[in-house]
Amino acid sequence: MAQEMSQPRANFNPALANVMQWLRANVVRNGPLLTTILIFAVAYVVGGQLYPAMQKPQVFFNLFINNGSLLLVSIGMTFVILMGGIDLSVGGMIALTTTASAALLKMGVSPFVVIPLMLVMGVVFGFTQGSVIHFLKVQPFIATLMGLFFARGVAYIISLSSITITDSFYKTLALTSLPIPFIANTYIYIPTLVAPIMLLVAVYLAFFTRFGRTLYAIGNNEQSALLMGLPVARTKILSYTFSGFCSALAGIVFSISLLAGYGQFATGMELDAIASVVMGGTLLTGGAGNVVGTLFGVLIYGTIVSILQFNGTLSSWWTRIGVGVLTLIFIGIQSLFYFRKKHG
């Protein structure tokens, strides 16, 4: 389509037209992603100008340290949303993972058993949700809501109060800081690395595997994906399983960084995750979006929180209002881009 449109100009200046065409194709295709990155950059720079302390490089790495589990959850959520579903159970899953692992560690179970066990629990949990959604034809919204209730409820049954983790392995993981090479006075913690690694895995899954392509196909039109002979059932259930795995992983990171487990952890995190995914340029109807965008969505969220912290006088509720307004703006941007793509 783009080629036909630029045909008259090609006579005028072929090289320039090619560049324009490439630009147009790529900017329109990645428009929401580029906007997300731009807004993150603007927010960060503005924050740095307002509060010079924010210019320290460590502040940037703190975004990753503080939002590691949010990023993990959002990655799983991106896959589910790309496929046209939604997963509301992530916050509950984090609470359950932290509580269960803290309780097990207190009983003296080795962390090398606990961590795989939690991951298996997440996978089974996600798989069950996916199966209920697919085979019983339950709305994803309702089924994962049930998952949220269930996970939090079980966390409360395990313990009504917060359990502290005193395990030496967890403590080592939590307190060992890794210096960042080439940049002075900066560090991250070991669990911080989990989310970026998972992001790479997710990028590979989304763009270089059959699973990823099928996800996009189902998100665009489940019926036609089915008619094309794509494995719809398997992919649907797998995406929820992946999200369950991600939330269990996020729960482990959460429990390591706080060294505690509690049923009330991560309340409302599903909303932050959905907002981050939307801010990252993924359509909530599914079929269009990018996992990389989700990273920047989470970073924007983190930046808003940092700016509020650096300000000190602004109250915490501005985070919510800010995230709400940004979500609105992004929906506007998205509809603009996708409208263009469809009609132009």
């Binding site: 019983l136 919204f141 049930m146 409820g153 409360y156 939307v278 915490s316 709400g324």
Partner: protein, 388 residues
């Protein structure tokens, strides 16, 4: 749909009924089926099931006493506590019937409650609040104005949602998600981040007052239910809502202003949320922007689904949703009575949702249909029925 087809065929095969009933009389449907097809059947069955459970395991559940001329007891508690949820469920039913969803009702409740609390004891801006102002049994605004402001705030929220959905063409889930995230922030902004305790006695009438021995909240619910029923069933709006829910585009082509129908549904939902906020804050004597009406959107959706309204829109029943809300609270209070810790209630609720999901799934329906078919073997079965 296949069932309609089969009953129509069955009717045509019984000439006697066709003669006596005339052309447009509805075909005879077996009693069991007629009861089962009724929108009220499932929620009432669930309610009965829980009450039967109570009769065996917690007989004290049914005890009702009269103190100071008011009725007291678990059943009254259920109705009184369920009132806000019933209101929200009524509003949510209309929204879901248009094929949408409103996630922001919890936030609307918080905003409405915050509005009421602030008008009684102003906390806007960074004004210093002394204990002296807060504990006075007085108000800075007359009560009717407070109620009006509460309702206006909620309705405005609903209007905003409606505009985003109908004019902004944003999917309902995202559009209302915005207010869900931002709404509690706005409520905190209104109360300046404080948990405001209310000491103004006349305000408590909505949540704790009694008329003729029954809580005021019940009358409010019945009033709103009658109002909604009247608007929906005695005017064409109900029909429009159902047709928009079934197919928005074809409704548009038949000349229905689908935008305004949606706008109406969301605004009404906001209005219901506002009343719920008023009752809740009046009942709790406080307004905590973070926790008031928490998870109400989820409970309301659950109530609506239990009432048999499909999440994809279309046919709806207001009364069934209200009973759905009643089921949720009967369940909750039963769980408390039996002695399950409050925090573990969530897991119990999940089991309830699972049961509802299984009851409403295609498998169960198919099973029931099969049961029914073997039940009336004498009735001639058509090919269509067999194939389906």
């Amino acid at each position: 749909m296949t069932e309609n087809l089969s009953t129509a065929k069955g009717a045509s095969e019984s000439p006697a009924s066709a003669q006596t009933m005339g052309r447009f009389r509805p075909p005879r449907v077996p009693l069991f089926k007629r009861v089962r097809e009724s929108a009220l059947f499932w929620p009432l069955a669930a309610l009965a099931l829980i009450l039967v459970f109570d009769a065996f395991y917690a007989p004290s559940f049914f005890r009702i006493e009269i103190q100071d001329g008011h009725l007291y007891g678990n059943l009254i508690d259920v109705v009184n506590n369920a009132a806000p949820l019933m209101l929200v469920a009524i509003g949510m039913t209309l929204v879901i019937a248009t094929g949408g969803i409103d996630l922001s009702v919890g936030a609307v409740i918080a905003i409405s409650a915050a509005m009421g609390a602030v008008l009684i004891n102003p906390a806007l801006g960074n004004q210093l609040i002394t204990n002296d102002i807060l504990t006075r049994d007085a108000t800075n605004t007359p009560l009717p104005l407070i109620v009006l402001a509460d309702l206006a705030a909620g309705t405005l929220c609903g209007l905003w949602n409606g505009f985003l959905v109908s004019r902004g063409r944003i999917q309902p889930m995202v559009a209302t998600l915005i207010l869900m995230v931002a709404g509690r922030g706005i409520a905190q902004l209104i109360t300046n981040g404080q948990i405001m305790t209310i000491y103004y006695t006349p305000y408590f009438w909505f949540g704790n007052g009694f008329i003729l021995g029954l809580p005021v909240a019940i009358y409010i619910v019945v009033g709103v239910l009658i109002l909604a029923w009247f608007v929906v069933r005695k005017t064409s709006i109900g029909l429009f809502i159902e047709s928009v829910g079934l197919n928005a585009k074809s409704s548009y082509y038949t000349g229905i202003n689908e935008k305004n129908v949606k706008l109406f549904a969301y605004t009404f939902c906001g209005f219901c949320g506002a009343i719920a906020g008023l009752i809740l804050s009046s009942n709790l004597h406080s307004s905590d922007a973070n926790n008031i009406g928490l998870n109400y959107e989820l409970d309301a959706i659950l109530a609506v689904v239990m009432g048999g309204t499909l999440m994809s829109g279309g046919r709806f029943s207001l009364v069934a949703s209200a009973i759905g809300a009643l089921v949720i609270w009967t369940f909750t209070i039963t769980v408390y009575t039996v002695g399950v810790p409050a925090n573990a209630l969530l897991a119990a609720k999940a089991v309830l949702v699972l049961a509802v999901i299984l009851l409403y799934s295609d498998y169960t329906r198919r099973l029931l249909n099969r049961f029914e078919r073997t039940d009336r073997k004498t009735a001639p079965s058509t090919d269509v029925e067999q194939r389906v």
